[in-house]
Point group: C2
Chain length 367, copies 2
């Protein structure tokens, strides 16, 4: 039976291979007699799962050895507090606001530090990324925060800013929740990256933090121990009991990514090629239609989250109902924006995007 | 095939029925075409799962309507910070220290409030619960914290203290991580209860908080929004993306508990009868032997976590190896205490305890 195509923005589709394997190992993980959920996190079975997940993630995104990979909890929303608690020392932090998530991050950080907006595209409805040359970066900023892909607004940095070339010595912090592992990362430009797992990596409840060694050890006194990066790193993500199931599913997903091939490319490079093709197919269909529109500037359209609107909004419900009947699920746009949104993460095959495009065209013709 | 018996202290055994159902629904939850891990937390499918889990938990522990049931993240260790951030207002908080967990809670809370030890059994190696009449409770305490079952030390409150009868008006906070849903709770004596799910309720990464209505809304300014009980309650545990898989498995576990029967008793009462019988069987075997010993006073021995020592510690590894060969897993004691520990949570059947007792007796006879 063909499974439906699930366009949820997160929690989101998981590769079918991963689900099959998780189901088959549910009662007995590889002869251990236990489900992964039943294993002590300090036992050799789970430690092997966790170490392999970390090593595979390091390989697939070419994470340098001077970065720690941490498995944490609380999602991006908790990290909006945890990052300033660990990095700001209560000082200046600059934010570039390109959508709902970076806006939330700014507001939350202001509880803990001197947060300021270095640039914002709010006046244009979050459809552009302000030119880095225009960012008002402070000389005493402890770090500069961006959301490298805005899930709700569909705005993605096609390359990370080079802060050093802007005369800024502060580390760059990126919230890469909704496009992690969909493309390569230039770690030379990054100090810390964080992301909830529930878009591209696995189930909700697991947060991934990749942090450069020199940024550990500066937490404020009011930082809860469970969220102190130094303690988490020193204890191999087991200072408190980690979300073991999430790490296991993420690990299976990393293995799935490493197996992917597109022509000569493999792993993340293969996915990047596939994701580029998927996004082009969908944006071309939108741009070529009379009914649909996407309002984001072409140079910063997200490859992962494609918000679009029906010019005749009275047809929204009919569009969603028809989609569901065809096995095209969870296309409703975020409540703060309205319209539609197709999230086409790593686990969405090209065939799923083609099925959506076919449906959109036939729906438009029905008029 | 008979599954092994898993005595892990947590993450711990999960009822086989729950695992079977989770495996069977992995690719398609009840005709939705999605795994639970793939569902938007804001979609009607997942909302129905979450609402049912909450209602079932309320039913099984008879949680009064003026208490909120929150699904959070971070485990007991994070709650050690989150509770004082929400309840202390930076004022006085009194702790009763009966083992490793209440000791950790005291230390963490001291970052946020004026934490003091009202009573401690450290001098006796955490083998007794200090008589509540002896507790030094301060008149201005914002709350009084106990760990109602100490997982590492095997010390359990057989009844909750009645603070009002001690002349104390502060709410009681209980860390019930390792015995939640194993016995009834007298909510008239409790202001807030919290617990990680990974002992009796489901997988690691889900934290349950049960909090009385009047204790919401007093969070300190430095409390991260994701961990502000008022915001979590007002948003039905969806202020940030909740750990959806954990809530689903906990929900299946709640259904399993509600189905349990022992004689005329059902639900938690049935489990309480079964847990009492299991603990008696194991403690009698220990007390009746020449080789094994448990050092906890009889009136506060845990029904869930039974630490025991071999009087000849040179035989420890042989004991563990022989146990594993018989399908009796994860019996090694916590590294801070040594020896052995049998965690016999709700999911452990009487037959599992009987198998352990049989093995212990045959091992002792081998000499």
């Amino acid at each position: 039976m063909q499974r439906p195509y699930n366009f949820s923005a997160g929690p989101a589709a998981i590769p079918e291979d991963v689900l099959q394997q998780a189901a088959s190992e549910m009662l007995d993980w590889r002869g251990s007699g236990m489900s992964v959920m039943e294993m002590s996190h300090r036992g050799k079975e789970f430690i092997s799962i966790c170490e392999k997940a970390e090593a595979d993630f390091r390989q697939l995104l070419a994470v340098p050895q001077n970065f720690h990979i941490l498995f944490m909890q609380g999602g991006g929303l908790a990290e909006n507090a945890i990052v300033p608690l660990n990095l700001s020392q209560g000082g200046a932090v600059d934010f570039v606001v390109t959508g709902s998530w970076s806006q939330k991050s700014t507001k939350e950080a202001a509880k803990f530090c001197n947060a300021a907006v270095a640039a914002t595209d709010e006046a244009q409805g979050f459809t552009h990324i302000p030119d880095p040359a225009s960012w008002k970066l402070r000389g005493d900023a402890r770090y500069v925060h961006i959301c490298s892909n805005e899930t709700i607004n569909g705005v993605e940095f096609q390359q990370l800013p080079d802060l050093a070339s802007l005369g800024c010595q502060a580390p760059l912090v990126i919230d890469f929740s909704s496009h992690v592992a969909s493309r390569s990362v230039d770690w030379s430009r990054v100090g810390l990256a964080f992301g909830g797992a529930q878009k591209n990596l696995g189930p909700a409840g697991l947060t991934l933090v990749v942090v450069r060694d020199d940024l550990l050890g500066h937490a404020m006194a009011m930082c809860p121990s469970a969220f102190n990066y130094r303690l988490v790193a020193d204890n191999q993500s087991m200072y408190n009991t980690p979300p073991t199931w999430g790490i296991y599913i993420a690990g299976l997903t990393f293995e799935w990514i490493l197996r992917q091939q597109e022509g000569a490319a493999s792993g993340v490079a293969a996915l990047e090629a596939r994701n580029t093709a998927k996004a082009e197919l969908l944006y071309q269909a939108i741009d070529g239609s009379q009914l649909y529109e996407n309002r984001v500037a072409r140079d910063c359209r997200s490859r992962m989250n494609v918000p679009f609107f029906l010019k005749d909004e009275s047809r929204n419900q009919a569009f969603l109902d028809g989609a569901k009947a065809r096995g095209l699920l969870q296309l409703k746009g975020h409540k703060s924006v309205g319209g539609m949104r197709a999230s086409i993460y790593n686990a969405m095959p090209l065939a799923g995007v083609q099925a959506l495009v076919d449906y959109m065209q036939s729906f438009e013709k029905q008029g």
